[in-house]
């Protein structure tokens, strides 16, 4: 299952990047990136997974004493949490940019925004 998640994650990253590289529409690029970052999250979580163990929450089933034998690695999860939030921030920013760009030239085609070059 770990491998399934990993491979899916990598595939999502590649698909997302492919979309970002080939779609000229700014919003579609943003969508593609959000898919790629979902893929990244999947990879991160999958790496921290240990087959057969449970979530790193102590309750009746998992006590503090045997936690280190029962739970999976909490660190990747913490990282992913941060990454998700940051990803949202960047996506929101890209969207705002898209809107603002559209306002200046009335197009979402990224190849039209080449006033700066060389």
């Amino acid at each position: 299952m770990v491998y399934v998640a990993l491979i899916t994650g990598f595939l999502l990253i590649l698909m997302g990047l492919y979309g970002a590289l080939t779609n000229r529409n700014i919003l579609r690029m943003t969508v593609a990136f959000s898919i790629a970052s979902t893929g990244t999250h999947l990879v991160l979580v999958a790496v921290g997974y240990i087959p057969g163990r449970t979530a790193p929450i102590l309750d009746g089933a998992v006590t503090a004493a045997d936690a280190s034998l029962r739970i999976i690695d909490p660190v990747p999860q913490a990282l992913v949490l941060t990454a998700i939030v940051i990803g949202l921030g960047v996506t929101a920013l890209m969207l705002t940019y898209a809107y603002k760009l559209y306002e200046t030239k009335r197009t979402l085609d990224i190849s039209k925004y080449t006033d700066l070059k060389w």
Partner: protein, 237 residues
Amino acid sequence: MIKKFVALLLLAGLGLMFVGLLLGFTPDQVLNTTASYYADHSVEDTGAANIVTAVIVTYRGLDTLGEVTVLFLTATIVSLILTQPRPSGTPIIGVAEKKALSSGELLQTGTRLLVPLVLLFGVYVFVNGHLTPGGGFQGGAILASALLLLLLSDPTKRFNHRLISRVESISGILYVVIGVLGLVLAGGFLDNRILPLGAFGTLFSAGAIPVIYTLIGLKVGAEFSSMMVTLSESRDR
């Protein structure tokens, strides 16, 4: 066509690296040092049942502070961009915008009913962050979705920006202050042991974690709301 081909070629290269990563990867069978330390010590260190929360709020508190800052920054920039006057000389978007859809009666009534519940649920999620899955971010997102509901039901509704930004700022400042208190009163910046750890597994336990998560929840909620509100109002300006 060439572009797609080149893209595929490059991604094949990247894929090669990923394959390399996969081939070199063997899932852990036991926790590594860091993780097992957390598993073994987080209860006595922090008193939080949810180890992920302990990691996020305490051990890697600085990350979380940064994360909150990211949202703060994004919200600020979004409103900075959208409230900025248009650069001179750029065409103004035409009047052809669609009229705001008026939502149905059902939705409006439903919203009125639902919003307090959603808000309450959000608060529940972040105050219990140290016990159960969820926490400030999830709770904050839920708070924001309450606002979203309001927005959907009445797109022309005006929100009190001052209130949102006050909530955001005050919780942000308090978060920093708590961090500094940790530095002064306890073992370091963002140390949660400025408050007693309390009885393990209860609401008022785990030191400052619930407080911090509450602040995060409020702040994140405010930031999400601010982002959405600015975006939704932008066209009217």
